[in-house]
């Protein structure tokens, strides 16, 4: 698969064009900015928590289709989940891209699986992982 692969294109471009949970959030419990200094991609994450549950989540950012689509998929996947579920999803996602592990996501996360295509474009892996690294910093605080 590659950027010009049609299936990948469809999912990626849909998230890029119609980002989910997009916008700044007032009074968030967790807020984290992330940047890729070499390419200038930016992602800012906002989370509100009810106990251990992510009750609200949003992002803003600017950058390429992969960095912004990945952020959109992240927010979509984590909405309503617990912090520990977020952590395991984070491990799964980064493992898929950085450690060449086969993706093993539950069915509801099939959009995330489409990101496996980025492995074929090594220069862009850092774009795909930006939002997830940002999440890691946010929940690690």
């Amino acid at each position: 698969m590659s950027l010009s692969d049609s299936l990948y294109q469809e999912v990626l471009l849909d998230h890029y064009q119609n980002p989910r949970h997009h916008g700044k959030m007032e009074h968030s419990d967790l807020h984290q900015e992330g940047v890729n200094p070499l390419c200038g991609d930016e992602v800012e994450l906002f989370l509100k928590l009810k106990g251990d549950i992510i009750s609200e989540i949003s992002f803003v950012g600017k950058g390429c289709s992969i960095s912004q689509a990945s952020a959109s998929m992240l927010t979509d996947s984590l909405y309503g989940k617990t912090i520990s579920e977020a952590k395991s999803l984070l491990q799964e996602f980064k493992g898929m891209l950085l450690e060449d592990k086969a993706p093993n996501f539950p069915e509801e996360y099939e959009d995330l699986e489409s990101m496996e295509a980025v492995k074929k474009i090594p220069a862009r892996i850092k774009c795909a992982t930006l939002a997830w690294n940002t999440l890691e910093k946010a929940i690690g605080k």
Binding site: L3, L13, C39, G40, G63, C64, S65
Partner: protein
Amino acid sequence: MSFDLEKIRRDFPILSTQMNGKPLVFLDSAASSQKPKSVIDTIRKYYEAENANIHRGIYYLSQKATEKYEMTRIKTSRFIGAACAKVVIFTRNTTESINLVAQSWGRTNIHEGDEIVLTELEHHSNLVPWQMLAQEKQAVLKFIPLNQDSTLDLSNLDEIITERVKLVALAQMSNVTGTIHDLSAIIRRAREVGAKVLIDGAQGICHLPTNVQKEDFDFYTFSAHKMLGPTGVGVLYAKEEILDTMPPWMGGGDMISKVWKEKSTYADLPARLEAGTPNISGVIGFGAALEYLESVGMQEIRNHELELLQYALDRLEDFGGLELYGTNDLSKRGGVISFNFPGVHPHDVGSILDEEGIAIRVGHHCAQPFMDFKGIAGTCRASFYLYNTKEDVDSLLVGLKKVKEIFGRVLKR
């Protein structure tokens, strides 16, 4: 001699390789040029038959290596029109040459309240060293602003370059927009106030016939790897009377005259500013690159690039929907084209072109202040050199059509 493009292309082995199963279309020479066989062979020959350290050995190999290394210094001084070879200092790259000036000349001559003038189009190499020096010395950085077409706005030059200015540092040609600056007006004004002028020739020397004495540069910096030579070799030229006053910035072997336990005296130029074992094979390979450029002719290279530039600009205009940056006055422009698909990030364009075997540079090109000026994240940049063809431009256009197909939905926004 005539400009024989077919022959030139045959001299560059990489141009006949494949990328992702497709013929390589290399349009990123502004980042680093490809190398002709003569340069590659010269480096191989050095390691196979001539390798030894220089300036030390009494034996044949060392003498031979020293001779070849110093011959490149002479060739370089001729190539840029310097008065003699000892005003050519070898460094690792343009960045190191600029840092050398900042750390040696700058720390001696820039004081609190002094001003350094740059432009809004500088790449980070000619920005960050001055920021560091200004912070250390509490000096002030000032910037010559830009016109919308990326040429310099020189209308307020007298107000910007005042008596407080000690240095004006700017690129000969922009790595982002290809703009060739009108240096004469700036140098004239610098002379009026007694300021020194540093010209960052990283993009200039490879494309434009340049004579440092005629053009009256105080400092001139460039890198071998952008002009057919190997990586890891840079040049600092400065007027001899300036170099004479510059203290060493790195201490070590080769730069000394006499060493005691507590102190040392320093060598004469150019050794005083070249501490340690240098990139010997690189410098010798650079000599072969200079010979190659001279055999083709810098004016011929410039003419060829202008032809490509005109052809490419026309085709990109006709393509429609692209945002193009830089002036249309080709007398003020080298073979660099920066553009954007509004709505598509440059990295996405770069990845799709890569699949087609087309290498361009995408991103901020280490010139973030310019991106801020334009309010963009980055650009797609296609840059030409002597070995590029109109067919390369045609391939680029085919690749861009593919981008348009893939990102059609986004582009319609």
